[in-house]
Structure formats: C-alpha cells, structure tokens
C-alpha cells in the first residue's frame, strides 16, 4: 500500500528539515509542534527512550550527559581525527572504544554510533512526513555538505537505512539550494552558492543551461560553521568566569549549556542590533554580565569567516572563472545572516549576494525538487537535471607512499577510472590496494578510504597476471570497486576494509524499523495518534458544553452532537483506524457551529480587554509547544 512518495531531507548540523513538492512548489513539512525546523538534538529520557528535536533541548539543559547535538561533525570520522572537536564539544565517547572502530557516543548508560543518532533524527522527520501525508514513507533524498568525503557520505546513507529509509540519492547541499532557486526563474547563467551553516562550509559554482544544473567546481571545509563562532564566545565566557569569579565551569556541563544558549542568542541578535548584553545566571546564584558590541563581535569572528575565502578562490580558479563572470551569488545557511559574512561575500564575488529564499529552508526545498525529479518529475521540474561533481580527488597508493590520482576533483559524477595491476612474485594470489581521497601528494596526508584485497588470482608467473580494477564514483559521490583478471576473465574477489565506517552487517543489526514491520508500525502509530486526537476533541467538546456558546445551539444540534460524541467514544479504543478517523471527522464537522460561536465569544472577550490567551478557546491539537515558553530569562 505504500505510495511512491519521496521526501527531501536536509540533515543539518544544527537543524534538520523535511520537504516535498506540492504541486508546483516545494514546501517544508512541519512537526507536530507546528515548527518547520527540527533541532538536530537527540536525548534519552528517564526510561531510556529517545527524544528528538525541540523536546530534547530540555535534556540538553538539565541532563546534558543524556543529550547530544552537532553529531554531524562526527559522521564518518575516526577517534584520531576528532580530537579537536572533543576539546570544543561535549561529546562523551564510550570508554571501551578500540582503535579503528567506529566512534560510539554515550547517552546516559547507552552508547550510539553517529549514524544511529542521525537515524533517530531522520526517523523523526520520516514520522512528521507520515503524519502529514497520512501514509507511510520509505524513500528519501538526503542532502550532505558538498565537501563531504566518501566515508561521511557512506555514514549518512547508513543513517538513512537505519531509519528505515531507502536513500535514493545524496545531494550536495549547495546544489540542492540552486535547484530551489532555479525552479523560480528558469534562466541560463553562472551562479555561485555560498553555504555557511552550523557546522560546515561549502561553495559551489554552477552553470545553468536550459534546465541542466552543471556544477563546475566545488570546495569547502566540513568543519567550519556557526558552531565555531559559538565556541569562541563560550570560551571567552568560561575564561571570564574563571578569571573574575575564580570558578572553572568547564567541568559543569549544565552551566556550559546555559552559556551556550545565551551566546547563540547574542550572536543572532548581533545581526540586527549594534550591541547586546549577556546576562547569564551561574551556579551559586551569581550572574555573568557582559556587553558585546557588533564591532567587537566582528573583530572576534573575522578569522573564522576569513577561512571561507580560500575555498571560494580555489573554486573560482578550478572553474576557470573570474569573480566578474559570476552572474549571481546565492546565500545558504544560518551563518549567512551575519552582516560581516555578507560583506565578505560581496568582496569575494564583486557583487551583492542574493537573499530571496529563507537560508534555513532552501536546502530542504531543493532536496524536495530532486526527490520529485527522481520520482519521474512533474511539470514544475520538467527538463531539470543535476550534474554534480566529486569534491575530492580519488587516488591509490603507489610505491614510495605516494598518491597516484586517478579521478580528479571536480569531475562530473558518475565518473570512473580503470587501473591495471600485476603480481610481483610467482604464484601470487593476492594484491592489496589502498584507496585514498584528497589533494595531497603523499598517501599519509590524504584520507584513507579503504583497503582492498584482490583475492583468488590464478597461479601465474610474476608479472603475467593482468588485473583490471575499475573505480567508479556514483551519483551520490560514493566509491564502488570491481576487479577482473583479464587473462583468465575471472572476477577477482574484493575484500573491503572501510577505514572509517560500519560494515553491512553492522548497519543491518541497527535498523530501527525494519522494512518488513514498517507498515505495521505505521498503522499502530496512526491509531495512537488518532486516539490522541479523539481525546483532544472530546475534551474540547466538554469545555464547549460549559461555555456560553453552548446555550446558543438548538436542541436538535445538541442532540446530534451527543450522538456523534457517543459514536466516537465507542470506536476510539478499538483497533480500527478508519472508524476512529471517520468519527473524529464527523464530530469535527458537527461542532463547526459551536466552534464558531465560541470563537465569536472569544473575540468579543478580547474586545472587552482580555487577551486571546485568557479567553476561553479550548485546547486545540496544535497548541503551542510547552517548550516555547521555557525561555532563558
């Protein structure tokens, strides 16, 4: 029964979103709380059940050892290359981590790999979409930073699979953004996308030709974003408190989270204000007070935002273009709201950047466009095709520890290269291949992707075997390798040892909702949600009966409502979703006049000087999330 609906997901460092193409235009699907952005925060509640998004933020403040954020920074990385992150982020690693093992993070007493945590976020988005459509969703397009390497992409794909999603395509974030823009104005030209988000920076240069979006160059830094700005401010506050108050708060995660929250708000405010006052309550009742002017802020963050200049210049150089040849510059990501960042973009590309679409949502909207294209397209996406590139050169290690590049960066994907290997000694049966990604000349300076062992080479004299190895980077930017001994025509067996990643078996064992039970799970959830909705409407009806509006109904109307109320009460504890749904809809319809009368009463109450909130409106299912009021004060 599953429909072929494909969703587009922006799995962000700070926030994640899900979108789909509704008719002609992409729209973001809100969560149950009515909010489009789902914070990429995961926590475990008291019963060890995962809590995601806004609801998890509470845990971040109260029990930080049971919560995690910015996990995207850890995707596809090993323990040895996250040492810098560990200094700045409160990631708690499992104590029993072995060298070469995939990182595991502690939440409470449990441990999770980064793909598993990302999967929990993805599952939340999947559920939001299912609630919205009223039917199961199993297919998705997920965006990744353009500069993500093979391991980071693979980890993202694994996360999708664990969440019960078939990932039809990984799309580069800046490219997705260009699709969202391109939908509006189908025009030809050269555009640059400057994508400065919470944790990553990307720049892509694209040629637009009659619906073809051809990426000509991309560059970036997968560990550069708004997070780094926050950390600067946090360190200052921590140093201040240690210096002036003599308390070191570094070991106090609650206090650090309180400071983090305050500095993020300050950062955001400084995009529209000339100065901001930090006023943070510290443990022991003291308050941390500090004024930051925009000028000071800009001075402070200049070194961070300057780090985006190098990749921009390199991308232009690789594209063989001068800044003047760029027709339009598009801004993506929350960090591009900072005026100093916009000024830098203007300097780099010699033109005023374009700020049409919401920089927080544009990537998800683009993912929805790509999802539509993959699903067979529609009038809106007719003739649209994305030609993306691989951000990093692919190489293999040759004698002397040198990298021999076989597919250069900025090659359009899918791309392939064929290499020939032979044996060094008589009867040699195995050949080892070390695959690398990166621009440096020495293998040790590049990213190790995997070690392949070609096995079962037929016995021959040294140098006689001729093994053809084909390296293919697919449209997701993920590498595939196949090998064949040419003289015997025998397919060689390839044993892959990913340098940083989960094996197929590991992913399999992690799958949250296996595909088989997805339908059943969905049905169950649907029933539970319908029951909740029934309870809400029945409670609202009780309230309505006590309101003045009830008196304005005719006896006949009241009778009808009572009958429908009885019907709903009768079915709501049964397992028949359709019946519950039908009774809810009937009661909803039957009480329309009551609701209108109540609204009139409420409005007239407002006119008498009361606020809407005080007015007796009953509780709707989309009441504001309780978290919204628990703001820092």
């Amino acid at each position: 029964m599953s429909t072929d609906r494909i969703i587009g997901i922006d799995l962000g460092t700070t926030n994640s979103l899900v979108a789909f193409l509704q008719g002609e235009s992409p729209v973001v699907i809100p969560g149950e709380d009515g909010v489009n952005l789902v914070p990429s925060v995961v926590a475990l509640d008291e019963k060890n059940q995962p809590v995601i998004g806004n609801a998890a933020r509470k845990y971040l403040a109260e029990t930080p050892e049971r919560a995690v954020y910015s996990v995207k920074r850890l995707m596809g990385r090993g323990v040895d290359d996250i040492q810098e992150e560990l200094k700045l982020f409160p990631f708690r690693l499992a104590e029993d981590l072995q060298a070469g093992e995939v990182i595991r993070i502690k939440l409470g007493e449990k441990t999770f790999t980064p793909p598993e945590i990302s999967a929990l976020i993805l599952r939340q988005l999947k559920r939001n979409a299912e609630r919205f459509f009223g039917s199961p969703v199993t297919k998705a397009v997920i965006t990744v930073p353009a500069y993500f390497n093979d391991a980071q992409r693979q980890a993202t794909k694994d996360a999708g699979r664990i969440a019960g999603l078939e990932v039809l395509r990984l799309v580069n974030e800046p490219t997705a953004a260009s699709l969202a823009y391109g939908l509006d104005k189908k025009q030809n030209g050269t555009i640059a996308v400057y994508d400065f988000g919470g944790g990553t920076f990307d720049v892509s240069i694209l040629k637009l030709r009659d619906g073809i979006f051809e990426v000509v160059a991309t560059n970036g830094d997968t560990h550069l974003g708004g997070d780094d700005i926050d950390n600067l401010l946090i360190v200052i506050a921590l140093d201040d408190t240690r210096g002036d108050l003599g308390v070191d708060l570094r070991q106090n995660p609650e206090a650090v989270q309180a400071i983090r929250k305050a500095v993020i708000e300050a950062k955001v405010a400084l995009s529209s204000q000339a100065s901001v006052k930090l006023n943070i309550e510290l443990p022991g009742g003291k308050r941390y007070l500090r004024e930051i002017t925009r000028e000071q802020f800009e001075q402070l963050i200049q070194p961070i935002i300057d780090r985006t200049a190098g990749p921009c210049k390199q991308a232009l150089k690789d594209a063989g273009l001068k800044p003047e040849q760029i027709d339009e510059v598009v801004l993506v990501g929350g960090s591009t709201r900072i005026p100093r960042v916009r000024a830098l973009v203007k300097e780099l590309f010699h033109r005023e950047p374009h700020i049409g679409l919401n920089p927080d949502e544009v990537v998800a909207l683009g993912a929805a466009v790509q999802a539509n294209i993959l699903g067979g397209g529609s009038e809106a996406t007719e003739n649209m095709l994305l030609l993306d590139v691989t951000p990093l050169s692919l190489g293999i290690e040759v004698a002397g520890g040198v990298t021999d590049k076989i597919i250069l960066r900025n090659s359009t994907v899918p791309a392939s290269a064929t290499q020939f290997y032979t044996t060094q000694v008589d009867g040699q049966a195995n050949v080892a291949i070390h695959v690398l990604q990166g621009e440096r000349e020495l293998a040790k300076d590049c990213r190790s992707l995997a070690r392949f062992d070609l096995k079962g080479i037929p016995g021959m004299a040294a140098g006689m075997a001729r093994i053809e190895v084909k390296f293919l980077i697919d449209a997701n930017g993920i590498l595939h390798v196949s090998a064949r001994e040419q003289r015997s025509g025998k397919e060689s067996e390839i044993q892959v040892q990913p340098s940083y990643g989960l094996t197929d078996e590991q992913v399999e064992s992690m799958i949250l909702d296996s595909f088989d039970s997805a339908e059943e799970d969905f049905r169950q959830r649907q029933i539970i949600e319908a029951r909740n909705e029934a309870d809400t409407i029945l409670a609202a009806l009780d309230k309505g009966k006590k309101s003045a509006a009830w008196g304005h109904l005719t006896t006949d109307e009241k009778k009808k409502i009572a009958k429908m109320e009885k019907a709903l009460n009768a079915v709501k504890d049964e397992e028949d979703y359709q019946a519950i749904r039908k009774s809810i809809d009937e009661l909803n319809l039957g009480t329309t006049r009551l609701a209108e009368l109540m609204m009139d009463t409420a409005v007239s109450t407002v006119l008498k000087g009361k606020t809407m909130e005080e007015a007796d409106m009953g509780e709707g299912p989309t009441a504001p999330h309780p978290m919204a009021k628990a703001e820092f004060e």
Binding site: D210, V398, T418
Partner: protein, 253 residues
Amino acid sequence: MSNSSFTTITAKPAPQETQSCWSCGTMRAAQFCDSCGKVQPPRPVDYFSFFGLPRKLNLDVSALEKDFYELSRKLHPDLNARSASQEQEWSLQQSSLLNDAYRTLKDPIKRTHYLLKLEGVELEEQSKSATEQARSSGQLKKQIVPPDLLEEVFELNMQLEELRMQKKMGEDDPALLEEIGKQRLELEQKNEALLDELKTDWKVWDALIDREQESQPVSEDERKRARDKMVDLLNRRNYIRNLVRDVSEVLEN
C-alpha cells in the same frame, strides 16, 4: 566479455547500427533506444566513438557540450531511478562512460594524450607517478631537457639555488625574486604558445584521418611522424609545466 579495455582498443568503431534495443527490438542509437528511450547495456568503446566522432583532434567543443547535455538527459541515473535494477546499473555505467569521455575530449591536452594512447603510444615522461615518486624522495627526476631550453633552464636552476640559499639565511633579494618571477611568466607564455603549435600538429593528423576515410592510402611512416611530433610537443610542455611548478614552490615557500 572481450579482452579489450578503453586504453588498448585500436580497432575502428564497431558498426553499432546493427544492434537492436533489448526492450522494444527497434534499431537504436549506441547508448539508448531512439524508439523507446531505454538505456542499453554498455559496450567497450573508445571515447571518440562514444560520441560518434572520428579520431580527429580538432573538434568543436561547443557541439560536444551540446551532445553531452543531450546524452545526459537520456543516460543520467537520476532519470532512470525508477527503472529495474539492471537498467539502473547500465545507466550508471553509461553515464560514467559519458562523463569520462566528455571530460577527456573537451580538454585539448587530455584529448591529445588520449588519442596517442589509443594509437599505442606510452608517454614515458608523462608518467605522473614516477614524477611524484621522485619528488617525494627528494630527488630530482632525471628528465631530458629539451635542447632549446637547455641554456635557460641552466640559468634558472642557478637562480633558484641562490634563492633557496638566501631563504635559508633569512636574506631577501627583491631583484632576484623579480627576475625569477619574470622567468616564470615567460615559461607560462611559452606553454601557451606550445598549445597553438599543437593545433598545427592536429591539422597534420586530422588530414591523415580524412584521407583514410576517403580510402586513400596512408603509410605507417606518415602516421608515426604525425604522432611523434605531438609526443615531442607534449613532453616539452610537460617539462615546462613541472619547471613552473618547481619555481612556484620556491617562490611561495
């Protein structure tokens, strides 16, 4: 499967017109069916024949781009995402072949290299890994200096050595820096000029292919002479490029 690979095929493009579509049986174009649009299983062809081009070096890059876009609209995996898994696999293979071919043919130097490779010429001096290896072990790779550059290279190497010494001592000689910078610019200009020279070599080669297509005899000696000229030019160009890179390294470090 045949024993051939893209790098060793020397035969003329196979007459693909005789193939018919696996799906609807109609006669088809090489990569997809004209009639039903289905992607066809990939066949080992060289990059020129993939685009239906003769093995000539002077080609219209904007027409190539147009063909590339048109073929992308048929072969790209995004447009075949709903097909059966076998067709998706073909689409992936065909599309990567298309991209590899386009990337190689649109660039004049890569195109020339590729053609020479098809003609069985191994460009020893172009062996990139050998160069990288020599660099990593700190040795200078033994390269034959093109005779017309001998004097210039000798002079430049002396100056580079002097600059290295000065840098070690923490000294600064703006005049020397300027002189070396000027030489780098001259070398770069020389390489640009070589590109123009290459285009005249192309004409010689393309004329041979034209004669062949008109069934006029072309001797192996003529072919060899045309090839050797290009090999020599590419070697010189490569030598200069490495030199420029070395100079840049000293100047920028």
